[in-house]
């Protein structure tokens, strides 16, 4: 992993089309401004990981449980 030191208002370029600007440095956080091509998805990692995990759980859904919930079991 490449580690860079930047100050507020400085920017990191990744290739030709991604720019990450340090907008603000606060107490225990940094605010980033990201410019990237429209098709590049940008996510907070922990939220994206949670979504992946939830989708994997959702895909294992048991029919019986669902039918119970919907009152479909005769």
């Amino acid at each position: 992993m490449l580690v860079l030191t930047r100050k507020a208002n400085q920017t990191v370029n990744i290739g030709d089309d991604i720019r990450i600007k340090i907008v603000e440095i606060g107490n225990g956080y940094v605010k980033l401004g990201i410019e990237a091509p429209r098709e590049t998805p940008i996510y907070r990692e922990e939220l994206y990981e949670k979504l992946k995990q939830l989708n994997q759980e959702a895909a294992k859904l048991d029919m019986g449980k669902l039918k119970d919930f919907l009152g479909l079991k005769e």
Binding site: Y48, L54, E57, L61, D62, F69
Partner: protein, 145 residues
């Protein structure tokens, strides 16, 4: 085409109704083709074409969550080639946990109903949770009129 599914056995689907998720679905990057199976209205299964095991139970959110609204970013509209608002069909994935049913309102699936191209997006909106308890529709109906 005929598709094998673990939950529904062999299912015959119309090739013209296959929904393409060019980026896959988060957690399933390699499964890019899905189809919808009507279940119990407004619930539908979103089933992978290329894996008999992978299917999501989904619902149209609006009957359950009448206030559910978000603004679609330009990049999503561009990606899905959405030209008019009525082209965008929105569904949410349902999750069963602890004998209750939850809807993932944080990450809706948007499908262009003309081109059948879909994507699951992650909303940057603190009002919506990954696990919003699904209200009973019957109560809604009784309560509203």
């Amino acid at each position: 085409m005929k598709i094998n599914t673990t939950r529904f056995g062999e299912v015959e689907i119309d090739d013209n109704k296959i929904i393409h998720f060019p980026m896959g679905v988060p957690g399933f990057p390699d499964l890019k083709r899905y189809f919808l199976i009507d279940y119990k209205d407004p619930i539908k299964w979103l089933h992978a074409v290329d894996d008999p095991d992978t299917a999501f139970i989904t619902a149209i959110p609006f009957p359950f969550f009448p206030d559910y609204a978000f603004s679609m970013k330009d990049d999503v509209e561009t990606f899905l080639e959405i030209k008019k608002p009525e082209d965008a069909a929105i569904i949410v994935i349902l999750i069963v946990a602890d004998n209750a049913l939850y809807a993932n309102l944080k990450a809706p699936i948007i499908i262009n109903s003309s081109t059948l191209k879909g994507v699951q997006i992650l909303l940057d909106d603190e009002r919506y949770d990954f696990r919003a308890p699904l209200p009973s529709l019957h109560q809604e109906e009784n309560g509203s009129k």
